[in-house]
Every structure is written in structure tokens, then in C-alpha cells.
């Protein structure tokens, strides 16, 4: 390193690693460096705001790659914006670090920045403090007034659809915690799904005006679907045999029951769950295909309340429950 990081203060720390000349793009009137950022929301837009924190040992493994942590901290927030059908615009970052490690910061900043650039997100505020590694990102986005996708818009009869494949990230995490002999290409793909989740921002935008409700699957289907059903005031039914499982997951998990556990209970995939009128499903599927993404119908909303599951026509009771970010053992996936 060409500088002595031990002399860097908070202000300089943020500037050195995170601030770039962002010009006048993205409505940033005033970025990092004043008491607060000044931002101009596009005319006729509602503001969308979310916050998510990731903590070492809970949301990523101790010793995880700094670049992955930077990516993840933004990805989980972009996924919330995607689930609203909104366009991400700006982010603020609250970074608590045990010490200043320039190599770590370079990696973290690169992971954060690459994903931010991909989605046109500008970092407009930052705060660094000393303490146990904790990364809290607040994301701000915009959506044309009245068009946001909510969890509460679902209606009985709507198809339930999910993007991509489920369970991969959980399988990747399981491998990281307890490595075993598997095909390298499968392992790489599963770990990549955990370390570098891809928020489905473009699909969320495409679903606006097509889907009736949406949410992101951060906590696993069995944890998240009840929230959408309850918010919409309906019941939900899932046909478990229709869950989209990747080839990598099928290959890595020879037990079908175990693969289903991961697909049902595993969080961290950050795929989108939609309630979409049956007559518009093909339209949403085509939009996903344009993005090189599968969209799978996995069940439907029904009148009533609660969530039920079936496997090839018979009743099915998931062995797993959803992931609770407060870290109690509500996810019973054993590794």
C-alpha cells in the first residue's frame, strides 16, 4: 500500500475507498462530504426506502471474502427494491469495522462498487465506526407514483411464480460449512449463488403492471410465502414438485428430500416470488426469458388463509421453517 492507513480519519476513509466522481447522474445534487446528501427524485415518482444489515457470523461466515461481503451488503438491499418493482438510485453505507485493513477495504469497496455500477446506484452517504464487523446499507429508489408492487396485492386464483432456482445458496453455504467431495463445477456454482447473489432488479421492473404482488425470497419460501399470503388476505398452495431446482443442486444433493429442504427452507437465494393473474403468466415468463431467467409457476393463491404444500397430489409437510434473521434456530437445515 502506498499510504499509511493508520492515519486515515473517518472522512478520509470514506473518501479514499468509496467516493468517485459521479458527475451529475442519478439526481445526486450533493453526495458524500456534507452533513447529508441532497437528491432529486424523478418527477412523479414515489420514493422507495429499505435497510438491511449483515453481520459476521450470521449473514456471512467469519473470514468470508471482503469482495463478497461488499457485494452481498448491497445485493440484499437491491433485492428489496426489485421486489417493489422500483428502480434503485442511491445508497448509504454504515460500516462498523474492528480495524482499518486497507486490503480488506479495497476488496469490500470493489464488491460493493461493481454491483452498484451494474445497477446505476450512487453511494451518497457513509459512516464508519470502530466495532465488530457490521455492514448496514440503506437503499433508495424510485417508482412511478402508484405502481409499486406490494405484498398485499395478491388475489385468490393468481398463480404463484418464482424466478430462477431455489436452494442453491443454502446448498453453497452448507458446503462452505462442511465441505465434502462434489463436482467442482457444481460446488463453484452453488457457492457463487451464496457469495454473490444476483438481485432481480430488471425482472422486478418488468413485473410492474403485470404481477399483482411480489416479494423477495430472502428468508426461504416457507418463511416468506406466508407473509405474502397474509398481506394479501388469502391462502397459498405450493406444488413442491414444481419448485425449480438447478442441475447443480440436483447433482450435489442426491437425496430429493434434502434438495427440497434446501429449496423450501433455504434463504439467501434472493429470487422473486410473484402473484400473477394466470392469463398474464406467459407475459411475465417471456419478460424473464429476455433476461435469461426462468420463471416457474409453483402453485396458486386460494381463498382462505394459511399455506399448504403438496407433492405429486399428496399432502406434503415441509421439514423446514423459514430463516429468522435474529439468528434463533428456526431454520433447521442440518449440515
Amino acid at each position: 500500500m502506498s499510504f499509511d492507513a493508520s492515519h486515515l480519519g473517518e472522512f478520509e476513509l470514506i473518501r479514499r475507498f468509496f467516493v468517485r466522481d459521479t458527475g451529475a447522474r442519478s439526481g445526486v445534487i450533493l453526495g458524500i462530504g456534507d452533513d447529508a446528501a441532497l437528491l432529486e427524485l424523478p418527477n412523479g415518482s414515489d420514493l422507495v426506502a429499505a435497510v438491511d444489515t449483515i453481520v459476521a457470523g450470521h449473514h456471512f461466515l467469519e473470514g468470508a471474502d471482503a469482495r463478497s461481503i461488499g457485494h452481498r451488503s448491497l445485493a440484499v438491499n437491491l433485492s428489496d427494491i426489485a421486489a417493489m418493482g422500483a428502480a434503485p438510485l442511491w445508497a448509504t453505507l454504515a460500516l462498523t469495522l474492528p480495524s482499518i485493513d486497507p486490503e480488506w477495504l479495497h476488496g469490500f469497496a470493489a464488491g460493493f462498487r461493481d454491483l452498484a455500477d451494474l445497477h446505476g446506484v450512487t453511494l451518497v452517504g457513509g459512516d464508519t465506526t470502530r466495532g465488530p464487523l457490521t455492514v448496514s446499507v440503506q437503499i433508495l429508489g424510485g417508482v412511478p407514483h402508484g405502481t409499486a408492487l406490494r405484498r398485499s396485492g395478491g388475489q385468490a386464483g393468481d398463480l404463484l411464480a418464482v424466478s430462477g432456482t431455489l436452494g442453491d445458496a443454502a446448498a453453497g453455504l452448507a458446503f462452505l460449512k462442511a465441505p465434502r467431495r462434489l463436482a467442482r463445477s457444481d460446488v463453484d456454482e452453488l457457492i457463487r449463488r451464496f457469495d454473490y447473489p444476483t438481485p432481480r432488479v430488471q425482472l422486478g421492473l418488468a413485473a410492474r403492471g403485470v404481477a399483482r404482488a411480489a416479494m423477495d425470497l430472502s428468508d426461504g419460501l416457507v418463511g416468506d410465502l406466508p407473509k405474502l399470503a397474509a398481506a394479501s388476505g388469502v391462502a397459498a398452495h405450493v406444488r413442491v414438485e414444481q419448485l425449480p431446482l438447478s442441475l447443480a443442486l440436483r447433482s450435489a444433493e442426491s437425496s430429493q428430500a434434502r434438495a427440497l429442504d434446501l429449496a423450501l427452507g433455504g434463504g439467501d437465494d434472493y429470487e422473486l416470488l410473484f402473484a400473477v393473474p394466470a392469463r398474464r403468466f406467459a407475459e411475465l415468463q417471456a419478460a424473464a426469458a429476455q433476461l435469461n431467467l426462468t420463471l416457474s409457476a409453483i402453485g396458486e393463491l386460494r381463498s382462505g388463509e394459511g399455506v399448504t404444500y403438496s407433492l405429486k397430489g399428496g399432502e406434503f409437510l415441509p421439514r423446514v421453517s423459514g430463516y429468522d434473521h435474529f439468528g434463533r434456530a428456526s431454520t433447521q437445515i442440518t449440515v
Copy 2:
């Protein structure tokens, strides 16, 4: 407690302690409970966004009162909004907790809520995670387009003015760390300044269109003033004998040198620092008086660069430097 908090998940935790029926006020289209909040900014407003984190042992003492921590976590952010001359609107809260302690949460939520209510701020997003106590608040506000107070607007000849009194919070903190025999009423006042800082939101609003530049004194005058001077491209001079010291501080600190150290180097007062044209100083002072707040001229901006200090006409070199939130010992106040 009438419930067993050990069963509370993240969602329920946030709901139970923080969510209230906020009706349709403050432009909240959709608050906590979906993937993100949906907010409507007043027409013609720029969005103002800031983030600040407080960590146990760095920004408050281990074992500090939960109510004070809740108050502080929002106050430091409101102060950033005040320094922009903006109106606070919404906040999100990222709360990392070592364990669920209902009594602690009640206190924290009460401290946060009372201050939020005072300023009409709605909590629109929350995230709770398990980990070492860290509180990160993101604040969002609005300001009529083009009217925000920046650090960079100061001009040579402008008066430097500060609200309230300086050094009280630092004196309160010093007492908390090393109690000694002092008049109870003085101690109470100084500790209150540290535990329950009052963000000068109304004064910031009143200063819009009057002051040329503003910032909040979170890191102490000697740490913060150079930032305003540099951003404005000018030099600054402070007449130390004009620093506003409270009666409590004067009474608690019999040594004038020590009182000046606290006033110059002590952070955490969250008073506002303004650069204001001399001919408009009286107007700003009158606005402060309306808010039962003093406004003191402490020096002026000059052409050039750097910050100089004088005491009764002679050169003065502060013995203290500013507070660096990354926690290195740049504040040399000994207690």
C-alpha cells in the same frame, strides 16, 4: 412482561416495539411490513439523506440507559438534517442486538419514539440482527429545491455563529467516566446534554435563506470548523473568549483552560455552526431567541485557508483536536 420475547422473530420484534398507526401523515404510502417503504416527497422538494451509527463503548458508555441510546441514535441523525436546513420526515433503523431484552427494547423504543414524535418523523423501515450492540439510523428529509444549507457556501467576511453552549456534553461524559464532587444541578445538566442531545432542527429551518453555510458540531469545533472553511474555500478565525460556555460548565470546571478544552474539542453537543453575513446576524439571532436558544458570534471567515484562534487579542493554540469517530485518540481530553 406479558409475553415471552424469546419467541419473537425479527418481523414481530420490529412490529411490537416500533410500529404504530401513523395514519396518512408525513407522506408514508406504505410503512414497515413490505419489502421496502413507499414514500411521497412533497412537491418541489429535494430529498435529504444521512446515516449515522452509534456503537457501544464508542458513542455511548457500556451500560448506558436504553432510553438515552434510542434518543441519541435518532438525535445525531436529526442534527445532520438540521445542518442542511431541511425538515426531517422519515427514518429507518438497523438494530443489532446481542440478545432480546424486552425491558431494554421498551426503553430504547421510548427514547427513539419520543424524539421522533417531537419532530414528526415516522419510522418506515427496520432491520434487527443478532450481534454486538450497534444502532444505525438513516434519516430522510425534504428541503425546497435549491435551498439547502451546505458547508460550502461561506464567504470571507461572514460571521461565524454557534447555537447554544459548547462543551457541556463533553463535560457530562467526563463526569460519567470519572465522577467527582460537584453541584448536583450542574452535573445533571451536563449529563443530560450528553445523554439527550437536542438537535437544532427548528433553528436549521429558520437559517435557510439567512445563513450562507451550516454544519453541525458533532466532532467538536476544532474538528469541524476546518471542514466548513475548506469546503467554502476560505480561512476561519475564532475568538476563543467569545465561545458560549454554560453556567453549569463554568461552575463544574474551575479551570478556564479546561473549560475551553471542552468547548473547543468536545464533540456531542450537536449545536449548529453557521457562516452568516454580518448584516443578517441579528436576524438569525432573533430567530434563535424565538426558540429559546442563544446564538453567539465567535469569529469570522477570512480570505485564505486554515483556522486560527485568538484569546483576548493574543494568538491561541488549542490543546485539543477534533473527535474522530473511528475511535483513534485524536481527542486528547483527559478525564
